[in-house]
Symmetry: C2
Subunit: 351 residues, 2 copies
């Protein structure tokens, strides 16, 4: 297969982790006879520095015409504590999601047998966890009207949802549930928010089309609790943009390491693959960041292109590296650790 | 001291748990020579059934003229899955918070030596946790404009914050931090939301008035993760209404049982004390609900009235009941368990 993959390294540790995923993908391509053309493009703080905005048109062209996008991370602390900054790296991320129509963020949460004791949670609570949070990604309070009023003394943001946005996401949720344990949980705050009531109403109306799926409804505060108490109770969770942002990061704790959790952001034309960890600026340039989340995101990329063998090969070699202790310092527990680039080399060599 | 306490039992297990707190308070009053006059009033689904609305004016009068309000829980499942219900128990809660001006919800999170192994989190992660989440309670998306548009196909909610609302809460946060470990963490989503940027800007401007307090800023998604990974890293957290709703429930997991976590909702005139668990309708009327969160909320009530000895006496007797296994079935771990009312009687007798 010929593949054009847009390569958005981004900020902080983004470039380093993405490099390792490229090595792995190239090794896969060599073994399974694919031809990958990488199309690097600027994004985030890196793009602001270079061309003055975080998601330049040229980057969009490259992404829109690619078969998939591999993404590192964006964000830089120099913008975080400056509430008055006019251009922010995150705007690039949001613009990208919106312009590429990446409406569903898919974040699986699972445990790794060799790492299960690294989790702050007790083994018996998490062993066997296998859930997916499907976060709506192009609507809600991330994209509603916002601003200041009353001479700068009032600020507001609007959480808006249209029925079709909810339907589109829920459809994907029902379909995923059908391929898994047939359980769907809609998480909202319908006891307070009107937009959540629209979510609940919309999902309820779709239940009849998927009679085999057992549907439940939870308030987001309760889910924030239950997700930690008993993650095995969940199969597929669907939720709004902001709730998903919070719950997916929270869920990453289960596996014991954010450095391992991949994600995809699915659009109707092109999809994007990225680690859920951020740009982690303190580690940037030190060749110490854990590349596995990005490598596993590349596995999701192959999976979505129905290159299942390739995806499985990547997961196999990742598990092998964990089992053999070929890991970065975050996973080394005082034992021998490897550099980011060494882990990437090892993975590529073992494919 | 003469005390008028409004007694809002509410729905579900509310009446049962509140009854036990009353027994305990009466025992305290007898021992320390106070005179408590209880003023029962209707709220929640119970009030809807009786008089058609969840926070009747009469209830408000009773609360507004009381020295404090002791509250059970409200909410009933019959309203939850009916997105079209016009009157909801939760509206009563929100109206009460607003009309009484209960702007700060104080939720301590701590562990109980005798229960620490009940937590889904590993002992070494949580032992010694002592943090307070201060949730803004009368603003934000809970009270902004909301509605439907486009022929019912669009729904919206507005998150609005005024500078004085943030200042008022932050002031309380700084003051609490000064009496504790002098660490304040402002949790927001300033990389996306304008209202969060107003939060950050406002808190930053207040830093100079509390030079001894070490202030940090975090995004809510990161906090949702770190709260579980390392709760001991926090002292006082201040945050917006919706974020606080999610984070406080999440934090309750740390202690291993929601049945134990008290809270206060502080206003400029009167304050309200309530367990953080909900109305738990499945258990209602069975005399099995854990009353300790409500009893410990009563301890917060005495504390706020500067009746410190009384507050300590309540905490002492609660710890004693835990140590001696005089607990409801949720804490009994297959061992002998006691009824809600039996636990209340035991506590009162041991004061
Ligand atoms: C960087 C930020 C805008 C972003 C989000 O909130 O969506 C991030 O937290 C994420 O989850 O991808
Ligand atoms: C019942 C509900 C409206 C309420 C809230 O969201 O504030 C509850 O979850 C709470 O935290 O007290």
């Amino acid at each position: 297969m010929k593949l054009n993959i847009a390569l958005l390294a981004g900020d902080g540790i983004g470039p380093e982790v993405v490099d390792q995923a490229v090595k792995v993908c190239d090794a896969i391509a060599a073994k399974y006879d694919h031809e990958i053309t990488w199309k690097p493009a600027l994004t985030g703080a890196a793009a602001i520095d270079a061309v003055g905005e975080p998601y330049p048109d040229e980057t969009h062209e490259i992404c829109a015409s690619a078969d998939a996008v591999l993404f590192g991370a964006i964000g830089h602390p120099r913008f975080d504590n400056d509430p008055s900054a006019k251009v922010r790296p995150e705007q690039g991320l949001l613009k990208m999601r919106q312009k590429l129509g990446l409406f569903a963020n898919v974040r699986p949460t699972f445990t790794f047998p060799s790492l299960i004791d690294k989790s702050p949670l007790k083994r018996e609570r998490i062993e066997g966890t296998d859930l997916i949070i499907l976060r709506e990604l192009t609507g809600g309070i991330y994209f509603g009207e916002r601003g200041r009023k009353d001479d700068n003394h009032t600020a507001f943001d609007t959480m808006t949802y249209q029925r079709f946005e909810i339907e589109r996401l829920a459809k994907k949720g029902f379909e995923m549930a059908m391929k898994r344990s047939k359980k769907l949980c809609c998480v909202d705050k319908a006891n307070v928010l009107e937009s959540s009531r629209l979510w609940r109403e919309t999902v309820q109306a779709m239940e009849k089309d998927y009679p085999e799926v057992e549907v439940s409804y939870e308030f987001v505060d309760a889910t924030a609790m239950r997700l930690i108490q008993w993650p095995k109770g969940y199969d597929v969770i669907i939720t709004a943009n902001l709730f998903g942002d919070i719950l997916t990061d929270e869920a990453s704790v289960i596996s014991g390491s954010m450095g391992l959790m991949p994600s995809s952001s699915v659009g109707s034309k092109v999809s994007l693959y990225e680690p859920i960890h951020g740009s982690y600026p303190q580690a940037a340039g030190k060749d110490i960041a854990n590349p596995l989340a990005t490598v596993l995101s590349a596995a999701m990329l192959f999976e979505d292109l129905e290159l299942t063998k390739e995806a499985e090969e990547i997961r196999r070699v990742v598990n092998k590296s964990l089992a053999e202790g070929i890991v970065t310092e975050d996973l080394a527990e005082g034992g021998k650790s490897y550099k980011t680039s060494e882990v990437g080399d090892w993975l590529a060599k073992n494919i």
